[in-house]
């Protein structure tokens, strides 16, 4: 039974658990329940990845109706890989949130928090697993609505404006995607992704399809916060509860990057998107501007959560840059960075959340002297920070390595140089926090002297991610194998010749 329904389980489990969590209604109970559910979904995703790697791709016909008449779940190495990262981070964040949300969310709203988290997880899994373009939109709506709720739950009332801004931008993005999908349906008469891919170029006259592509790309770009459509992200990540930021920063935008990859490679075909429409140049330019503009913005912020939020926009730039290179290695670098960035940003935001739990502020001044007072938390921040910079033996290095390799394969010397230069900016914004923590002494008032190390329930998930940062930085074969087979799979099925070196 488990094997037979494997492709559906990562969606169905959290989807059914979310209403149950609301009925359970007690904080501690829902916490345990949500964590177990998420762990179960993670276990299923792990098996799904193994199955996808051995079999190539799995199909599951919802309702027993064969595609394209019914809705198909379709799992291959690419989405199973991202799915594993999403469910794993979700589980760790849920373990972490017990203490964290006690400090940041009113206790009466804890069941709503866990319900919204499970809904968000179900939505993200649905987006990843589905093989149907309209079904993708439905799950996008579920995850988006849950996300706006999660952002707005913080005690800090500034989260409301941030959530509202996110809501408006996110809804525009989703509407654009819907318009695009509608145009594709008009020209093809189908919504199944593989079926769309086959029929999309049969129709004569491409102007409707071109417009559909434009709407979908703009909509997805808002969702993944591609520069210059990223303005909603920094306030949302700054004012959301720390556990929410840790979860969203490492999953939501990454899933949107996956959606972009899926639409480009599986539905439209890389040949059409890049050769005919010239999207690769647009994406490449925007990605580079994102890396520099937002890394620079990150160096100028005083709130550490805002620093990391801008850093996230810059890191998304690296992922999109990988995609825009139109090569197996480039796409692989993008995919691997989706996974790796989830590990780094998850750990970083968890460390910042732990600081907020003890100190009550995430201003860079509040970090003074924390190197001594919260050694484990700051050590975690340091290692994850080094990973963002791309120091060897961390996953960040692996991502950068493949990105530089991909750029050099095509003799893009300047691009390789720019990737490395971007890392220097990361040195500055991570360095500023580390300097405050290790080289400045804490202020003298009595309250600051009493700051203790974060509780174990926060440290364990944080350090699990940190250890993963190092483990996958040294033992690179697992992630690279999954990412390269995913990348090859996407290219094979995209009927496109690589840009020759």
């Amino acid at each position: 039974m488990f094997e037979q329904h494997l492709a559906a389980l990562p969606i169905i489990i959290p989807l059914i658990a979310a209403p149950i969590a609301l009925i359970l209604g007690r904080s501690l109970l829902t916490w345990g329940f949500a964590t177990l559910i998420s762990a179960w979904a993670c276990y299923a995703s792990w098996h799904l990845l193994l199955a996808a790697l051995s079999e190539g791709s799995l199909s599951y016909a919802m309702g027993g109706w064969p595609p394209p008449w019914g809705i198909e779940m379709r799992v291959d190495a690419a989405n199973a890989f991202v799915l594993l990262a999403v469910t794993a981070v979700s589980t760790l964040v849920l373990v972490y949130s017990k203490n964290s949300i006690e400090k940041e969310i009113d206790s009466a709203q804890h069941p709503l928090f866990y319900t919204a988290h499970l809904l968000c997880l179900a939505g993200l899994s649905g987006i990843l697993v589905t093989g149907d373009a309209f079904n993708l939109f439905v799950f996008l709506e579920i995850s988006s609505l849950a996300t706006y709720t999660l952002v707005s739950l913080a005690r800090d009332r500034r989260c409301l404006t941030a959530a509202f801004r996110y809501l408006v931008m996110g809804t525009i993005g989703a509407t654009f995607i819907l318009i695009g999908v509608g145009m594709l349906y008009m020209k093809t008469g189908t919504l199944n992704m593989l079926d769309l891919a086959e029929r999309i170029h049969l129709a004569d006259g491409n102007r409707t399809i071109n417009t559909g592509l434009a709407f979908i790309m703009v909509g997805v770009s808002i969702k993944l916060a591609l520069f210059p459509l990223h303005a909603w992200l920094p306030p949302a990540y700054t004012h959301a509860p720390s556990a929410v930021t840790a979860f969203l920063a490492s999953t939501a935008t990454k899933v949107a990057v996956y959606v972009m990859i899926r639409f480009i490679f599986t539905i439209f075909g890389a040949d059409y998107v890049f050769r005919e429409m010239g999207m690769d140049l647009i994406l490449m330019v925007l990605a580079i501007v994102a890396i520099f503009k937002c890394s620079y913005m990150a160096t100028a912020q005083s709130n550490v959560k805002t620093v990391l939020a801008y850093s996230s926009v810059a890191q998304i730039g690296y992922m999109v840059l990988g995609v825009s290179l139109v090569s197996v290695t480039g796409l692989m670098a993008g995919l691997i960075h989706i996974f790796n960035h989830a590990l780094m940003k998850g750990a970083l935001f968890m460390a910042v959340g732990a600081v907020f739990y003890r100190v009550g502020s995430v201003d860079i001044k509040a970090f003074r002297g924390l190197g001594k007072q919260m050694p484990l938390t700051m050590a975690a921040f340091t290692i994850a920070g080094l990973s963002i910079i791309g120091v060897p033996l961390t996953v960040g290095f692996v991502s950068k390595w493949y990105l530089v390799t991909a750029a050099l394969e095509q003799q893009h010397w300047i691009l390789a140089f720019l990737v490395l230069a971007g890392s220097l900016l990361a040195v500055i914004y991570i360095g500023r926090v580390l300097e405050a923590a290790y080289f400045q002494s804490a202020s003298d008032d009595a309250s600051a002297a009493e700051v203790k190390e974060a509780p174990w329930l926060m440290l364990i998930p944080m350090w699990s991610l940190v250890i993963a940062n190092i483990y996958f930085g040294i033992e690179t074969s697992i992630t690279t194998e999954a990412a390269s087979s995913a990348s090859e799979w996407l290219f094979q099925n995209s009927k496109v010749l690589e840009v020759s070196p």
């Binding site: 609301l22 309702g63 019914g70 579920i142 008469g189």
Partner: protein
């Protein structure tokens, strides 16, 4: 003749939209939104999409107008002066509009039988669904069975919206002594008319719920109509009495129950050896199984939509009462 009707309706739609943009009185804007939805519903009727028209009329013109009025009760009815420059938004709108117009250039001819949408997936829905699913209303067959997973997703979307509203506003119950005067005590005519009307509205909701297999209708519309009956009661007789009829705590159980009812059909079909939401496995005769499945999932949809719409109204109304008291 049809072209003429379409032209008139579309022109009215455009005029309404323009009016909405330039009006500063938000109360009038909400009314215009209602008119806009009714016009859209008429256009759907002229496109022979009665199910969609029904939904648009009940959701767009009905319940969302009430909810927007509920919002106005909290925020005030005039638009604030906008100090931002409107050049960039204007450019974005013009570019988007131009892109949409460009997209229409290669659109398949309107209503032509050779269009891709009529040739690929749809023929099976039209030719096979009476045999495979056994329902006269093909729209219900597609929504509830062929694409039943989408409908489960949409139900969860509605549920997620309720979670959002509950977390932002909550539903406040106050003790008896500070209960403010609410409802329309002195309007005897309204009270009598409402009392007469409500049973019929509820009956109509049940009809729409269970007749969705045969004619336009189904869980979404039925849930909204039933919620409208209770909202009417709450408006005329006041929130405290409405809370006695259906309390917010009960609604908070009802909303997840609908989703679970829907999903349990899927789980049961998995248990019987089929795939998720495969109604064929529900009974020995596949067509009978389809019928059972669709009735239960439509009921789940109806329950969740009803509970969510009513709780959202309660949340707005209890906030508004509180701010009136203060």
């Amino acid at each position: 003749m049809a072209v003429l009707i379409d032209l008139v309706l579309l022109a009215m739609l455009a005029i309404t939209a323009l009016r909405v943009i330039f009006l500063k009185d938000l109360f009038a804007v909400v009314m215009l939104f209602g008119i806009y939805s009714f016009l859209s519903a008429l256009i759907f009727v002229s496109l022979d999409a009665v199910d969609v028209a029904f939904t648009e009329a009940s959701v767009g013109a009905g319940i969302s107008t009430v909810l927007m009025l509920g919002t106005l009760a909290l925020t005030g009815r005039t638009e604030k002066e906008n100090k931002h420059s409107s050049l960039l938004p204007f450019l974005v709108v013009v570019v988007t509009g131009a892109a949409l117009v460009y997209g229409t250039l290669d659109m398949p001819p309107f209503g032509h039988p050779d269009n891709p949408v009529h040739e690929h997936v749809a023929p099976r829905y039209i030719e096979q669904s009476p045999k495979e699913v056994g329902l006269p209303n093909m729209v219900t067959s597609v929504l509830a069975s062929y694409r039943g997973f989408d409908t489960l997703g949409e139900t969860v979307v509605v549920f997620a919206a309720a979670i959002g509203v509950m977390s932002l506003l909550g539903i406040r119950r106050r003790s008896e002594d500070e209960t403010p005067e609410s409802g329309l005590k002195e309007h005897q005519v309204l009270r009598v008319v409402a009392k007469l009307l409500i049973p019929f509205v509820v009956l109509f909701a049940l009809y729409v719920q269970f007749h969705g297999d045969f004619g336009p209708g189904g869980g979404f519309q039925a849930g909204v109509i039933a919620a409208a009956a209770f909202i009417l009661y709450a408006l005329v007789y006041g929130l405290p009495l409405a809370f006695q009829v259906i309390g917010p705590k009960f609604l908070q159980l009802l909303a997840p129950f609908g989703v679970l009812l829907y999903a349990s059909v899927g789980l049961y079909s998995m248990f019987k050896g089929g795939l998720f939401l495969d109604y064929n496995t529900l009974a020995s005769d596949p067509v009978a199984g389809q019928h059972y499945g669709i009735i239960i999932i439509e009921l789940g949809v109806g329950i969740t939509v009803f509970a969510v719409m009513l709780s959202i109204f309660y949340a707005f109304a209890s906030q508004a009462e509180r701010s009136n008291v203060q």
